[in-house]
Chain length 344, copies 2
């Protein structure tokens, strides 16, 4: 059976070029895949032509007359751009024409539009953004990463449920270990919200392993890291910042003179393996969880290789039926009274 | 004129050994320095003897019969251990016997005891923990790092004032750039507390540069990074976690086989320079700011080299009269009505 994904061909810093390149490459990798490019039809036809290809059964074009700007207000985009490439791509998921959509566009607008068009699952107040990040032992899933900057304990429980289901589906892990991010491992540590969330998690059916600290994220002690969107966003970006600082310094130190450049040459295979291991492009593709449908957010500055990973992420979530698995898990929790039907 | 520092000789994972080693070395480095080792007198005499030295004018011993355990409750330590090495060291600062104290012991107990014994400066509700961290261009000062997990906008303003004065004193920088950590650079981003703090900072005499994001910490765009203790603690530990993961992977990749080990040998000077640049021991010594006195917290797992850096940090703050400079700055702000005399 084929799977159809809708691509917002106009979103991101390098659209539509990198979206088209990634699309052509993804169709080669996945024989069952079909793609719908959403955007300005004339432009997309021309760009496909420049790449020596054209639309067909597996690569269709769906015209959309508007584009959401990267710095546009989410509320304005939602109200004023009903024919944007982002909106139409999400509409295709709601209609069932596509099983998932991917956009490298404005995160806030994507979140607002996806929530408005697809609606949240029963028991979920607000969708969360979840991404995979590398650890010493493999990878972990971390959420929320910025969609919800003020969270209640109930929200953190919802994130834990969604993250647990995602990790279970994506990693084929029957019982993912869920850690709650805090400033210390002892029970007395943390703010009131985190302490209240811990009490909810302790009595939930989730495999909750307790508090974890910032450095534990990368030790691989948890398969899912739960935190509010403010903390998650800052922690992830700080981590990226450190990694960039170190790699920048390495480049500089190895480029300093003829001897260090020789050392770099001798070390090339090692340096390449290090670069590959932590290449952020391999982790591109954050999932908007808690919706009736699959929406994947690519980094705005992604290249075709990175966007391809976001396509693979969406494809994998379709194959694993992530939203309906989250829905089933939520139903169990709601029936048990472990969660309220709606906290809003 | 000489400067006297009190060292909690019993605090930390490797006390008293590393404290004594660091003390002896610091006396060599700083001819004007005098140190008071606070702890179990018999043990300290014996340990000094094993190092071929003894107490004297520049290295005195002050007996303290108790030790605060690393996992002890701060409240219990404060009430029940009035003759702990930590408490006596802080008492020496209050009495004027020492101009500052350094401890590698229990952070919560140190904070509670320092606040109780030394009291906070007028206008400061709660002390904050501030540390120096490396950036691409040098270093920055970040606070709070865990002392205050729930903060009001007013608290963030207080942190900004204290961090600004510290950076100004330590770096001889007349107008340190102060950034407020947030999830985005746009004015609409962030939670209510951060937005309210931004409004306070905009009208303050501080050189406030606006919101900065997690990755900006390491770009050197701000000399002071202000955030609540929860976010600061997680961001700092996550950063340490990433750095450790990368260095661990590098070690592994360079040790894989005979060829990679040869590459490591050729690259040794470069690898050493990278290691030195980001050596966390060189950034050891966090300042408890906002008190009538100087208290420096060393990492609990510090070795003698790292503890020596904490001693240097305290010495530098004494020379620069950091608490009285913070006090003067607060007085100006209080007189201007930019801050309330007491928010508690």
């Amino acid at each position: 059976m084929s799977i159809t994904l809708a691509l917002d061909a106009m979103g991101g810093d390098h659209a539509p070029a990198i979206v088209l390149d990634a699309a052509i490459e993804a169709l080669r990798r996945h024989p069952r895949l079909q793609l719908v490019l959403v955007g300005e039809e004339g432009l997309l036809r021309k760009e496909l032509g420049r790449r020596g290809t054209s639309s067909g059964d597996r690569l269709r074009i769906r015209h959309a007359s508007q584009v959401v700007a990267m710095d546009e207000s989410p509320a304005l985009a939602l109200r004023g751009k009903k024919d944007s490439s982002m909106r139409v791509a999400i509409d295709l998921v709601r209609d069932g024409t596509a099983q998932a959509c991917i956009s490298a566009g404005n995160t806030g607008a994507l979140m607002a539009t996806a929530k408005f068009v697809l609606k949240t699952l029963p028991g979920i107040d607000r969708p969360a953004i979840c991404t995979m990040i590398p650890t010493t032992t493999g990878h972990t899933h971390m959420l929320d990463l910025g969609a919800n900057v003020e969270c209640s304990a109930e929200h953190l429980l919802q994130f834990a449920v969604m993250g647990s289901v995602l990790a279970s589906a994506v990693d084929n892990n029957p019982s993912p270990r869920v850690g709650l991010l805090n400033v210390g491992a002892e029970a007395i540590k943390g703010n009131d919200t985190v302490k209240a969330a811990a009490r909810l998690l302790e009595v939930s059916p989730i495999n909750y392993i307790g508090y974890i600290e910032g450095d534990d994220i990368y030790k691989g002690v948890a398969d899912v890291v739960v935190c509010d969107g403010f903390v998650g966003n800052v922690a992830l970006k700080a981590s990226e910042g450190v990694a960039k600082m170190i790699s920048g310094h390495m480049r500089e130190a190895f480029g300093r003179n003829i001897f260090t450049r020789l050392a770099a040459l001798v070390s090339l295979p090692v340096l390449k393996s290090i670069k590959h291991r932590f290449d952020p492009r391999r982790y591109n593709g954050a999932s908007l969880l808690g919706l009736h449908g699959i929406v994947v957010k690519s980094h705005g500055g992604a290249d075709a290789y990175a966007f391809g990973h976001a396509i693979d992420t969406a494809l994998h979530e379709v194959e694993q039926a992530v939203p309906s698995r989250i829905d089933s898990q939520l139903e169990i929790l709601l029936a048990q009274g472990a969660m309220m039907r709606s906290a809003t």
